[in-house]
């Protein structure tokens, strides 16, 4: 167990280092890239359109930033086991390493993006308040969800290589169903139950409650998402552990 964590953290450190070394700005991109993203949205929605609703840029970013995290990690993790081919053929590493390193790598960069989001909120005139503390459990719950979904798709992909296309389509559908560009008030009341079954819609609503409206999040919903994610994640890890040689074969044969 200890060895796995040491391996995971060193591998992630190496990946980040390696990735940074291939550009001139190096680690600077961790900050510049999200700032460019935010600037683009600011320009379109606050300058060009002059804000349909008040605070629309803030509203949008509070939904978009958590969504982009989920989207990025799940797409990156989909073919991660296949990507570990050369390592898998040479040593007996736990298969879980491959999705885990992708999610951890994205997490490191994402934490910085959340800091930038808070800075943006401050610059926009929001006063920091006690409710911002709820951001910590919110991020933890989302991490559990990201891990669970990433492991699930990564686990299935070697059996069904065509899953890659489905994942992309699925993510697109989920994006429209997560209320990033609109508030849940627009959903007909009788369909809201279904809307919030989408864990990302639920999380995004809670991010806004915390960051924009100075409310505490819906703790029960968060607990449900967390528990559900941990169970799925645990089952995936167990399966990957039991079926290690099956995966080596699958990756070798396709």
């Amino acid at each position: 167990m200890k060895k796995f964590w040491q391996l995971l953290f060193f591998k992630v450190k190496c990946r980040l280092k390696s990735e940074a070394s291939t550009s001139y700005l190096n680690y600077g991109w961790w900050v510049v890239e999200p700032i460019l993203h935010m600037a683009a949205f600011y320009f379109v929605f606050a300058v060009l359109m002059n804000g349909g609703t008040e605070n629309f840029v803030v509203f949008l970013l509070c939904g978009l930033i958590p969504w982009l995290w989920f989207n990025k990690s799940v797409s990156n993790a989909t073919a991660s086991i296949r990507g570990g081919y050369s390592i898998m053929m040479q040593t007996r590493v736990p298969i879980s390493l491959f999705p885990a390193e992708i999610v951890t790598q994205d997490l490191v960069k994402q934490l910085l993006v959340f800091v930038l989001l808070l800075l943006f909120l401050l610059a926009y005139g929001t006063t920091p308040n006690i409710h911002w503390l709820a951001l910590i459990p919110l991020i933890l719950v989302q991490l559990a969800l990201v891990l669970a979904v990433s492991f699930l798709v990564a686990m299935l992909e070697p059996f069904l290589p065509d899953l890659r296309y489905l994942v992309q389509t699925g993510l697109m559908l989920m994006m429209f169903g997560s209320g990033i560009f609109y508030t849940y008030d627009l959903i007909l009341p009788e369909h809201r139950g279904m809307f919030f079954l989408n864990p990302m819609a639920n999380l995004i609503k809670n991010y806004r409650e915390v960051l924009m409206y100075q409310h505490w999040p819906d703790w029960i919903a968060l607990a449900n998402i967390f528990l559900f994610s941990i169970v799925v994640l645990g089952l995936c890890v167990l399966f990957l552990q039991k079926q290690r040689t099956t995966y080596v074969r699958l990756v070798l044969e396709t």
């Binding site: 060895k3 391996l7 190496c14 070394s21 390592i87 040593t91 007996r92």
Partner: protein, 233 residues
């Protein structure tokens, strides 16, 4: 009588070759291989290209599971050493060395302890802190070999690792390997080079057409192997 480290009985492995969506045919790599690896010995595996030698090493390392037959390990750690395990061209030699050690199942402390020896043996000097992409192929091979030789598993599986780098390093590396072999290290060595096998191995397994044609003392098996190869020419 020496104790057995790994015993292999009637081992067979085949892969599924996908022909179309629903059709596939089996591709038999090994069909019937049996032998015992004894503790402390150096066992050579010879055979032509594509005979299934590397696949056999992967089974011994526990990476692949055979379709048929039995394999029993009486040891804790078995490591398959190869020259470029996870070498990332953008990282320094030092980072790559630690990463390889961790991937092979050693912990961080063990990896860092053997680091000075690895760097010294590889003769990379300051270059060890430069990215591997700036290395020549000889430097690359030297790094790979040094990583492999300084980690100490119970059983060492070596796949065509010799003959790397310039002449001088070749000499140094076979000496290092010899030293390792004469110490109580259990080694399985895959090689094309009959001279090398003759000088390093106690016993040899000869694999042909997926079967173990002969298992025994190095001189005898090599003689049969060479006769067969010459006969077919």
């Amino acid at each position: 009588m020496q104790a057995t480290a790994i015993s292999v009985q009637n081992l067979g492995i085949s892969y599924r070759k996908r022909l179309s969506l629903r059709r596939s045919e089996p591709h038999v790599v090994l069909s019937d291989v049996s032998f015992d690896l004894l503790k402390g010995e150096t066992l050579g595996i010879i055979g032509r290209n594509g005979a299934g030698k590397s696949t056999l090493l992967r089974i011994l390392a526990g990476i692949l599971k055979p379709n048929r037959g039995k394999i029993a390990w009486q040891v804790q750690t078995v490591s398959l050493l190869s020259l470029n395990l996870g070498l990332d061209p953008n990282l320094s030699g030092v980072d790559n060395a630690i990463l390889s050690a961790l991937l092979l199942g050693f912990d961080r402390r063990q990896a860092e302890q053997s680091l000075p020896e690895i760097i010294e043996f590889s003769e990379l000097g300051k270059a060890a802190y430069e990215p591997v992409r700036t290395y020549s192929s000889g430097m690359n091979a030297r790094l790979g070999f040094s990583i492999a030789i300084y980690l100490q598993p119970d059983v060492l599986l070596i796949d065509e690792i010799l003959g790397v780098g310039d002449v001088e390093f070749q000499k140094k590396s076979s000496q290092a390997l010899q030293k390792k072999i004469y110490s109580d290290q259990t080694v399985v060595l895959v090689s094309h080079n009959a001279t090398q096998v003759e000088s390093l191995c106690d016993r040899v397994v000869w694999i042909e057409d997926g079967k173990a044609m002969a298992v025994g003392v190095t001189g005898e098996v090599l003689e049969q192997y060479e006769k067969c190869i010459l006969g077919k020419r």
